[in-house]
Symmetry: C3
Subunit: 323 residues, 3 copies
């Protein structure tokens, strides 16, 4: 997103006013922040949700903020940064690496119509197209009117953007269709109250829409906080759907109108979700799951299940309890 | 939508690789596709949902794809095209008549401000109005900023379009008010999985908004697949409402915020629908029905009923079961 | 909103064809309409919802439409205007004072880019900004593309408006963030059926967004009918949320995606509302209340309660009844 910053761990800890004594190479260079699942060597991470404990055990992060009780799960090459509130410490660190990461400011530098025509080949676009710098648009793309494509976006070949679409920090595959009025890549809804002050969680991730995805009209797909929000190949999404930060949806899924999926939930392949259903955050929904209309899903769902209801239960139980 | 195409039935069947032997005039001219209820002479149709069996018995279509078991319901002048998957055959036929019907491509030909002023009388409009060719706008119409009116649209006298509205393939009556950000006439959400390939259902229908209709802000009303989506006279719709393809709503209805109505449902006159309610597809809701807020309607409702709940039940039962 | 109009009470009653005999100074000057809670001297008001009976007892309005049975609650200096349908009479009176109040017509007078740059200091804005007359924009404001700011709006210092935002009749505080595609200050959804004719309720109120408020993408916040819609300091609202006319939300609240709040409901401070929850109109939700996701709230909630379900009940009961 912004330019890479390199900081020594001791610098980082001093900047965020972390005073505990740590074991390990305090002068190791840290070059990025990342989540516990994806963190690589020379990156710093954290664990707060115990759902991700198994990722902690395998993490490649060089340093991790953890609560004392989770210390034993840490790989031995990873430096433990003990804290009662690991996520809060981590939020402060993100801001060292990405000082401007909550609200991605517009560059206010737009290509002229002439520049758009010369830079992108075989595309067609309507009136009032706003394209910032550092944008790539593939062959055969069709774009409606009053569209905004902000920096750090890639639009794949033969994709279609409807009118009044706004895209930012997104990688759009081939043959993707984003209908009118949808907002893709907006920062997610993330806050932490620290000592009574509402602290905004940076969003340095992207939205990845894989090939052949369709997004209906007036939807919102938020970009990830520091991993990405992903919608898999051939997945179709209807109108007015809300997809929060870090959600991962598999391939060949069908998501009906007004569905809402809360942050960091992962959904498998071939899943169908009925209209107005809601899925809580941090859940794992298996492959081939069918979720009936208006369901409220609050627990993980195994592969091949059919559920409905609020809270969602196996379909047969739902039918029985409503006889 | 596109130019009329004339095809002999034998040509059609050969194009879609239909090999069964049929009884009847194989060389009859077919000039259009249509649904079973509205099909006229020289049109081809299909029956897949048995809810529409009574329409099959009275159809005027010249040829109909049907399953063997429904053969006996066919009028004797209608040619039977037996198929285990009538809708799939029909989808292929639609594409013969409307090759470009899934995504209606923009013409990318817009009237200039000067042309708009000279062509449409006594209208007022804001900045950045995008009007394609083949659009008609009546007297006294008021239009906001950044509005897109795509081809094949008619706006009736004294109607009001808010800012950031997108309209396509729609016939808007008199004194209609469409508030800011609403999308009217977008293609519906229709797919069929045929042999593992997701096949998009063409949308050649329109949206008809009758006189005095009001549509709130950031709503989406999809156009019909091959019949029309209709909202009757004096019906008022609040914000963020989703109305799917082929839905028909009667007169004097009140539809509150965030309601969703799935495809092909028909709603009578004087119906009120509470906020966040959802109505499944292919249902029949009678006249004077009242649906309480957040209800999930999964069955037909007779005239004059008051229902609430998920699934929706008579209001008294809802109250009793929640005491 | 429009210029102040002064009318004698006798004139008003004659204009609306009110024929009952009244006690009191028939020639008193009335200079405005107002709700029963906020009405001042020389203003006219009404009581129809008995929830507001205690406000009637303390009203400062000079004249009030009331049903006969509520006559005894009227302060003695207030003139009683007896009517079986107080709200209907009042609606007619609003139209005398605000003849153009249902749909606020655009002025169709926009500042040029040059005028915007010279009038507002230290702001940055994208392409196609539409600013009507009588708008104020503070220092350091950032504005996206295709934004519309209609008359009677104030944007406070350092606030951010995303792309495709539409604002009207709103007072936006400092450091407010309104994300892409949201519509702020649209007229509310208010109607009365009088003798079979649907009568539109004027909306002369505003939207007040206090300092540090955040509104997500593709939300709609309606302006008040004749009081204001208010969102308190430090309150964060996620995507696709619907906030109806006259709603008052306190400070430090968190409202998740796709929540809907119906008209005239008041919500306290430090309230959190889970995704897809709906709250009925005219309710009072206390401070520090937590409302679980997808709840349907149909009754007032006292301070510090945790509720969930449809209809919403105390959280422990919800868990028990779903075991």
């Amino acid at each position: 997103m912004q330019k890479k910053i390199l900081l020594s761990l001791s610098n980082i800890l001093s900047e965020i006013n972390y005073k505990k004594i740590i074991k390990g190479k305090i002068n190791i260079i840290i070059n990025n922040v990342n989540d516990i699942r994806n963190a690589k060597k020379n990156e710093i991470s954290f664990l707060s949700n115990i759902k991700y404990l198994n990722f902690l055990q395998k993490t490649k992060a060089s340093a991790v903020f953890v609560q004392k009780k989770h210390l034993k799960y840490l790989p031995k090459n990873t430096i433990a940064l003990i804290s009662e509130k690991p996520e809060q410490e981590f939020l402060k660190v993100i801001n060292l690496f990405y000082p401007d990461s909550y609200y991605t400011k517009s560059t206010y530098k737009f290509l002229t119509t002439k520049q758009i025509k010369s830079k992108f080949k075989k595309i067609k676009f309507g009136l009032n197209l706003c394209v910032e710098e550092n944008v790539s648009i593939g062959f055969g793309v069709l774009i409606g009117n009053n569209v905004t494509i902000k920096k750090n976006s890639i639009i794949g070949n033969n994709s279609i953007l409807g009118s009044s679409v706004v895209i930012e920090s997104s990688v759009v595959g081939k043959n993707v269709h984003i209908c009118d009025g949808s907002i893709i890549g907006k920062k997610g809804f993330g806050f932490k109250f620290i000592n009574g002050h509402c602290y905004r969680v940076p969003h340095i991730g992207k939205v990845l829409l894989k090939d052949n995805v369709e997004i209906g009209a007036n939807c919102v797909v938020d970009r990830g906080s520091f991993s990405d929000t992903v919608i898999g190949k051939n997945t179709f999404i209807d109108n007015l759907v809300h997809i929060a930060h870090n959600v991962v949806i598999g391939e060949n899924c069908i998501v009906a109108g007004q569905v809402g999926i809360a942050g960091s939930t992962t959904i498998g392949n071939n899943v169908s979700i009925g209209g107005q259903s809601g899925i809580s955050g941090h859940l794992l929904i298996g492959n081939n799951v069918k979720i009936g209309g208006k369901s409220g899903v609050v627990k993980d769902i195994n592969d091949n299940q059919v559920v409905m209801g609020y809270p969602a239960k196996p379909f047969k139980e739902f039918i029985k309890s409503n006889r």
